[in-house]
Symmetry: C2
Subunit: 160 residues, 2 copies
């Protein structure tokens, strides 16, 4: 926890981010339907946030998660009618993942429900500090995203 050196600061930031992610994951799951867990929502959110029509492999890559894990998550989302899997017209091997109206609606509802849970915390923290942090976090995430694959992890989808 020393902050005198680069490694210390970076590690401390990562630790804080890890804890925050864990706590908000719990808060999120408390607001999801019982049958769904965080990864399901994360996938729905990704499809809205980036774009839908992506292949499962591209999504596994985006999430740095094994393709078999992604396949399992997608299968459940499809069973629940929250996404649709259609064949990829440009590649007979792969499929494309599309959101259904129900999928979009569930994402919206969940966001609306989780918001108030954070309201008290955000108010005492100060919205302006959030606004201030957001572009930095975004920039850092983009950098991290670009610079990965330097740590060699297989089975997690290669760059498209």
């Amino acid at each position: 926890m020393t902050e005198e050196n680069t490694a210390g600061v970076v590690f401390a930031v990562m630790t804080e981010i890890g804890i925050i992610a864990q706590l908000s994951r719990t808060a999120l799951e408390a607001r999801l339907p019982d049958e769904l867990i965080a990864p399901h929502f994360t996938v729905l959110n990704h499809l809205v946030r980036v774009r839908d029509g992506q292949t499962p492999m591209a999504m596994a890559n985006a999430f740095q998660t094994p393709k078999t894990s992604m396949a399992y998550t997608l299968k459940i989302l499809e069973k629940r009618g929250l996404i649709e899997m259609r064949p990829n017209p440009e590649d007979g091997r792969s499929k494309c993942v599309w959101l259904t109206d129900a999928g979009r609606a569930l994402r919206e509802d969940t966001i609306a429900k989780v918001g108030p849970d954070f309201a008290a915390v955000v108010q005492s923290f100060g919205l302006d500090r959030f606004v201030e942090m957001l572009p930095h976090l975004r920039a850092f995430r983009i950098l991290l995203d670009e610079n990965r694959d330097e740590t060699g992890i297989s089975n997690r989808g290669e760059m498209p």
Copy 2:
């Protein structure tokens, strides 16, 4: 992704934090011994960062994770000789978790190995931005930590 309203900003920050946590989790696991995964390291780190000698229940609470999951993680760490479980002298029901020298050493080694992986990213991002963000993240994490249990999740350890 709109940033015009409170909920939008908060949700956007959470999304970025979630992605960063996921990416750094992958980077961390790439540097851990093959038999160990992120939760193992996270527990070791927690025991150094907060204090060791805690009960499994207190740790499950800290991680917002079911006590059975924590028990499983601890069993593996104990089997690997990275922690020791001793009876709690103040409560016959519970145990206390203590780090071994090997556990401390593994944490140190891992931090030393992961650091360089982030060096390039941090350099182009700017260390000063990290230093700037750290206290905000820490303050937010502490607030989140204090304000939880408003979403009612059972089985994840009550406050000690």
